[in-house]
Amino acid sequence: MPRLSYLKALNRALADELAADERVFVMGEDVRVAASNLTAGLVKRFGPDRVIDTPLSEQGFTGFATGAALAGMRPVIEFQIPALLFLSFEQIVNHAHKFSLMTGGQCRVPVTYVVTGAGSRTGWAGQHSDNPYSLFAHVGIKTVVPATPADAYGLLVSAVRDDDPVVVFAPAGALAVRDDVDFATLAAVPLGSGRVHREGTDITVVAVGHLVHDALAVAEELADEVSVEVFDPRSVYPFDWDGLAASVRKTGRLVVVDDSNRFSGVGAEILATAAEQLPLAAPPARVTRPDGAVLPFSLELDRAVQPTREQLAAAINLTLKKD
C-alpha cells in the first residue's frame, strides 16, 4: 500500500474539495508558493483565482472570508502559526460564529481555518508554540485535531463541507506521521465521531492530536501489566460523548493526555463530564501543559512544559492503584 503523510493528506483533501466544488477557495499567507507545503501544487492545478496569497492582515482576510461565505463561497484559510488565530479571534468568535444565530438563521458561514503546525515547533519559542484548540471548543467553534493522515484527510473534507465555521488544528508533532493508506479508502470523517485506536479493558486513555501516538506507545510499553484502551476524539468540539461513555463504561478508569494548558482545557471538560455522568472506579487524571504555560525556547525547557510519555505512564499506573 502507498505511504501517505499527514501533510500530504491535508493537501489531498484540499485538492479534492477544490475539484469537487467551485465555491471552495484557499487563502492565506504564502499559499501559492506553499511555504508550509499544505497547498503544494494547488495554484498550478486550480489557478491563482482559487489559491490566493494575502497580505499580512489576519483580521482583515478572516472577515473577508466571512463575507465571502455569507455570499455563497466556501473559503479555506491557512494560518501559518497558531497565534494568528489570536489576531483574528474577534472576527471568528464574534462574527463568523454568531451570524447564524443573530440573524435568526438567515445565513451560514462555512469557513474552514487550518493551522498548519499547532503546538511546539521545536525552537520557535513562546509566540509560535501555542495549541489553543480548547479556546475554540469553549467558544463553541467546531474544532478538530486529527492525529493520523487518514483522519486529517477525512476531517478536513468534512470541515470544508460543513455549513459552520470549523478550525482544523494540524499539530506540528503529527505533520511528519506517515501511514500505509489505500487511497481508495480515504473518506470524510464526520465531526463528533471519535475513534478507538487500541482496544483495552483496564483503563481508557483519551489522547488528543499528536499525543495519540504517544498514548499508543505507552499502551504498548505497559501491555504486559495493563490493558489500555486508547480513545481519540478526533474532533474536540463537537465531542463524541457516546464513544467516551462506551469506553469508560467498559474500563471504569480514565486518564486524559492533552497538550492544552491545564486550567479549563479540553482535558478538564472530559474529566468534568465523566465525573458528572460516568461510573468511575477511581479518580480520573489529566496529563497536560501546566497552567498558563508559555513555551520557553531552550529545547529541554520546551519539552519540560509539554506532556510526556513518562507522565502518562505514571498517571496510568497511579489511576490503576486508586479506587
Binding site: 465555491r23 477557495f25 483565482d49 494575502t54 497580505p55 492582515s57 483580521q59 482583515g60 482576510f61 478572516t62 472577515g63 473577508f64 472570508a65 466571512t66 463575507g67 465571502a68 461565505a69 455569507l70 455570499a71 455563497g72 463561497m73 473559503p75 474577534e90 472576527q91 464574534n94 462574527h95 451570524f99 447564524s100 444565530l101 443573530m102 440573524t103 435568526g104 438563521g105 438567515q106 445565513c107 451560514r108 458561514v109 462555512p110 463553541g140 467546531k142 460543513d162 455549513d163 459552520d164 463528533g192 463537537p238 458528572e276
Partner: protein, 321 residues
C-alpha cells in the same frame, strides 16, 4: 431618483426613530437604541443609489440603513421589540438587524468590523458572476480600527466593488473626531489608493449624487471608493443618555448641529401638498407597523439556540439536568 422618493426615505427614517424612542420609553424595546436622527440623508442618499440586489453592511446606529435598503418597517420594529415576526425572529435586535433577501448583510455591533465582511461579500459576488456592489457604512470612530484599514488594503489590491461610506457626525460616543483622528479621514482611504471625497451629509440629493458616482464606478469594474459624509447626530449616542445625561456636548453645539435638518432640506424641495401626502402615508404605515410589532408573539424560549449552528448541531444544555 425623484425628489419625492428621497423625501419619503428620510421622513420614514425620522418618524420610525421617533416611534422607536417612544417604545424604548414605554419599555417595549428592551436595551435601547442608537438613534439615527439627524443622519437620515446619508442612508437615504446612498441606498437610493443601490439596486435591490446590491448589498450593505450596517452599524450599531443602523436603523436608517436597514429601512433605506428596503426592509419592511413592521418587521424591523417587531425585531426591535423582540418578536418572533421580526426580521431576525427576535434573535438580533437593534444592533444586528439583517434581511439577506434585500441585501442587508446585517447591522453589526462591533465598530469597524464589517468592512472586511462587506469587502469579502462584494468580491465573492463578482467571483460568482453577480454584478452587484456592496456598501459598508461606518462612523468616524471606525477609521481608528485597524481591521477597517486592513479591509481598505484588500479592497484596493483586488479592486473589489465596494463603497466605504463614513458617516462623520463629529463624535464617537463622547469623543470628538478631532481628538481621535490624526491626519484626515479621507487621507486614510487615499493612502491605500482608494479615491475619496467629502460630501454634505445633510443634503439627501448631494449624498445621492456622490453615492451614485461611486456605485457606478464600482459596478463598472473601477474598484472601491470612499465617501465621507459630514453629518450631525441630533439625539443621544444611545437612549441610555436620555436618563444618564453625560456632560460632553454643549447646548450651543447641539443647536448648531440641529440647524440643518435633512428632512426639512429635502421637504423644502417638494410642494407642500405632496409633502403632506407622504407624511400621512408614513404615519399610517408606522401606525400599522407599531400595531403589528406589539401584537406579534414573542419567540419560544425553548428554541433559543435553534439557529446557533447552520448545520443543525444541537449544543448540550447548560443545566446538567
Amino acid at each position: 431618483m425623484s425628489t419625492l422618493e428621497l423625501y419619503r426615505a428620510v421622513r420614514l427614517i425620522r418618524r420610525f426613530e421617533e416611534r422607536a424612542i417612544e417604545l424604548v420609553r414605554s419599555g417595549e424595546i428592551v436595551g435601547g437604541i442608537h438613534p439615527y436622527i439627524g443622519q437620515e440623508a446619508v442612508a437615504a442618499g446612498v441606498c437610493t443609489a443601490l439596486r435591490p440586489d446590491d448589498l450593505i453592511t450596517s452599524t450599531h446606529r443602523g436603523h436608517g440603513h436597514v429601512l433605506a435598503k428596503g426592509a419592511d418597517p413592521a418587521r424591523m420594529l417587531a425585531e426591535l421589540c423582540g418578536r418572533a415576526t421580526g426580521l431576525n425572529r427576535g434573535r438580533g435586535g437593534s444592533m444586528h438587524a439583517a434581511d439577506f433577501k434585500v441585501g442587508i448583510f446585517g447591522a453589526n455591533a462591533i465598530v469597524g468590523a464589517a468592512g472586511s465582511i462587506a469587502t469579502g461579500a462584494a468580491w465573492a459576488r463578482r467571483r460568482l458572476g453577480i454584478p452587484t456592489v456592496a456598501v459598508n457604512f461606518f462612523g468616524d470612530g471606525a477609521v481608528n480600527e485597524g481591521v477597517l484599514l486592513e479591509a481598505f488594503n484588500l479592497a484596493s489590491l483586488w479592486q473589489v466593488p465596494v463603497v466605504f461610506v463614513c458617516e462623520n457626525n463629529g463624535w464617537a460616543t463622547t469623543m470628538r473626531v478631532s481628538d481621535a483622528v490624526a491626519g484626515s479621514i479621507t487621507a486614510r482611504a487615499e493612502a491605500f489608493g482608494i479615491p475619496a471625497s467629502t460630501v454634505d451629509g445633510q443634503d439627501p440629493e448631494a449624498v445621492h449624487d456622490a453615492a451614485r458616482a461611486a456605485v457606478e464606478r464600482a459596478r463598472a469594474g473601477g474598484g472601491p471608493s470612499f465617501l465621507e459624509c459630514h453629518t450631525e447626530r441630533f439625539d443621544a449616542h444611545h437612549t441610555f443618555e436620555h436618563k444618564a445625561r453625560l456632560d460632553y456636548r454643549s447646548a450651543e453645539e447641539l443647536g448648531r448641529a440641529r440647524s440643518r435638518d435633512p428632512v426639512d432640506i429635502q421637504g423644502a424641495r417638494l410642494p407642500e401638498v405632496e409633502r403632506e401626502r407622504v407624511d400621512h402615508e408614513i404615519e399610517a404605515l408606522l401606525a400599522d407597523a407599531v400595531a403589528f410589532a406589539l401584537e406579534s408573539p414573542f419567540p419560544d424560549p425553548l428554541g433559543a439556540l435553534d439557529d446557533l449552528y447552520a448545520s443543525g448541531l444541537r449544543p448540550r444544555q447548560g443545566s446538567g439536568v
